[in-house]
């Protein structure tokens, strides 16, 4: 009953609630922005990891399979396949390209994955009873007259302009060519919920490259006893191709698709922290000014500066912890309701919570130093 700081907070509850809401909103935003970036990081890796390939080969000087523009001629396939340490016949030529298929007259975002059925790079999670795989190309090697059926398998997240699922048997258009949807996959997405669209390598070459024989990359696995790092070095020595390990590929793709473009967002998050600190500092400062008379009285009757600063700090700590806790809670709630994939990392949450708490408390402490300036003589004087 004598927790004076609590009574004070009840007395000034509107201000306390508003300050807390301010902190809650900012913490939620900080965490959500982090969650969006984290979601991007997860999605950008998802497909690459799902292939289970650990050698990623692109054209020399292209800057990497996903991050640069790489066109390879199929002749390298034989060379790579015969490099010692590369798993025999594991090399898979691949087309991986952003495209805007037209559905019901409207373009939508997607990523085309063209691969050879049975090789690395295909969909891992097709939905049972949701169609079938596309019919593969007739020949194992490249022939100009080879015309694979215009069939695709899409991710279920790919929608019509009105937001409906695209039915099996539906039609989409890429490069003016009509393609039949024959099957659906689940949760195969690239960054920012971009659905993957699988088709035969030859179909992809037809719609994207005017039936030329190029591919974007070749992926492969190493033999069990061989290190990917060593093989990458050896393949690189050829001078015409650029090889990367799984880790190198992931690092460069995360940097290219998430970390680099999201720098502004990181900056914004720091600004939000600053805003949270400023809110607490300002409100504590104003409240302290308003309480000058009360503080002067407490000083006059013998309260030390420490006692009064602690009184204010306890309030700041309570508001900050409430704000941070509710902010975390709200962020997780919002992450679930968000229209894109948001994944709030638990470790990051604790770090954000601790930093936010420290920032808010430091702001409050700074402002509470104003107490030191209060003259206890004020207790003898009339209204200010």
């Amino acid at each position: 009953m004598t927790h004076i700081f609590l009574k004070d907070m009840v007395y000034r509850r509107t201000r306390v609630v508003m300050t807390t809401i301010g902190i809650v909103v900012l913490i939620t935003l900080i965490l959500l922005l982090g969650g969006i970036m984290n979601g991007m990081r997860i999605q950008v890796q998802q497909y690459i990891r799902s292939t289970e390939a650990n050698l990623w080969i692109s054209a020399e000087g292209s800057g990497g399979a996903f991050t640069g523009f790489s066109l390879l001629v199929p002749e390298y396939l034989v060379f790579i396949n015969h490099t010692k340490g590369v798993k025999r016949n594991s090399v898979s030529p691949l087309i991986f390209a952003h495209a805007r298929p037209v559905i019901n007259g409207k373009a939508t975002k997607s990523i085309i994955v063209g691969y050879k059925q049975g090789k690395l790079g295909g969909p891992t999670q097709t939905i049972p009873n949701q169609g079938r795989m596309f019919t593969p190309s007739q020949y194992d090697d490249y022939r100009p007259e080879d015309q694979p059926p215009a069939e695709v398998v899409i991710d279920e997240k790919m929608r019509t302009p009105s937001g409906r699922k695209i039915p099996i048997g539906g039609k989409i258009y890429i490069g003016g060519k009509e393609l039949n949807v024959v099957g659906r996959t689940k949760s195969l997405m690239f960054v920012l919920d971009t659905p993957l669209l699988f088709m035969d390598l030859r179909t992809a070459q037809e719609v994207l490259l005017k039936n030329s024989l190029h591919v974007n990359m070749m992926i492969a696995k190493t033999e069990p006893d061989y290190s990917a790092e060593a093989l990458v070095e050896e393949l690189d020595r050829n001078g015409m191709i650029e090889a990367k390990t799984l880790d190198q590929t992931l690092t460069s793709i995360i940097e290219n698709y998430v970390d680099e473009p999201m720098k502004a967002v990181q900056f914004l998050r720091v600004m939000l922290w600053l805003a949270a600190g400023i809110i607490v500092t300002m409100i504590t400062y104003v409240t302290t000014l308003e309480k000058t008379r009360e503080i002067g009285t407490l000083k006059a009757i013998g309260a030390s500066d420490y006692y009064i600063v602690m009184l204010i700090l306890k309030q700041v700590i309570l508001m900050s912890s409430a704000g941070v806790t509710l902010g975390v809670f709200l962020a997780f709630l919002a992450a679930n309701l968000a229209p894109i994939f948001v994944k709030i990392d638990l470790l990051e949450t604790s770090v954000v919570a601790i930093i936010s708490f420290v920032v808010c408390c430091s702001g409050g402490y700074l402002a509470s130093r104003k107490v030191l300036d209060v003259d206890p003589m004020i207790a003898f004087r009339g209204e200010l």
Binding site: K7, K299, A300, G302, A303, S304, M377, F380
Partner: protein
């Protein structure tokens, strides 16, 4: 001898605008005395009481409280205040969001009492000042006289060596003033408290051990 002041001087402002609010004042106050301080507005009464109560630091002079010379440079004056001094203010200065009881308890917690002791003693004190049935009232729910009684209970709560009251009746009507001064008399009789009161209240003069008249920062008659 509870208070001994030698040559206390306090100036405010600078240059031509400088005011010597308390000018070379020396005085002693004995244990158990009731001292009344009078004088025209602006003569330095509040300043003197603040100096004696260790709220203000003098520009010159020496103050001995309860046998201890105050070391203004090295000592924490707030500690002196909470251990030795009680204050009653003209404008009551109760904490608005605390009940009468809590207003007394908070002073005692500052003074170092445990919560349990504080609550018990605070109830006793408020009963003593006639507020046994107002314990849970907030200042806004109390009359001026009742508020000032809470102030007295608060001032007494840490067993101070001396209480300073600066015009405690200035915001009370005459009936409430009479009641409050009766309380002062009663406290004197029951506890032999040393009290210094700045007041224009005439009827108390006959109870006082001493009446000090001030003028222009100096003690005129004692």
């Amino acid at each position: 001898m509870i208070v001994q002041a030698k040559g206390l001087t306090k100036r405010f402002g600078e240059g031509l605008a400088q005011i010597v609010a308390v000018d070379d004042v020396s005085l002693t106050i004995e244990t158990g005395e009731l001292v009344i301080v009078m004088g025209d507005s602006g003569c330095g009464k509040t300043t003197l009481v603040s100096l004696l109560g260790c709220i203000l630091t003098p520009d010159n002079g020496q103050l001995t409280l309860d046998g201890q010379v105050i070391d203004y440079a090295g000592q924490d004056l707030s500690q002196v205040r909470r251990q030795k001094i009680g204050f009653v203010f003209q404008l009551f200065n109760l904490i608005p969001y605390l009940s009468a009881l809590e207003n007394v308890i908070i002073a005692m917690q500052i003074g170092g009492f445990s919560r349990f002791e504080a609550e018990k003693r605070a109830k006793d004190l408020l009963t003593q000042v006639g507020l046994a049935r107002r314990l849970d009232h907030r200042p806004a729910q109390l009359s001026g006289g009742e508020k000032q009684r809470v102030s007295f209970a608060r001032a007494l709560s840490n067993n101070p060596k001396i209480i300073f009251a600066d015009e405690p009746t200035a915001n009370l009507d005459s009936r409430q003033s009479d009641n409050l001064m009766n309380l002062v008399r009663q406290l004197r009789q029951e506890q032999q408290t040393t009290i210094v009161i700045v007041t224009h209240y005439q009827a108390l003069q006959k109870d006082a051990d001493r009446v000090i008249y001030m003028q222009d920062g100096k003690i005129l008659t004692d």
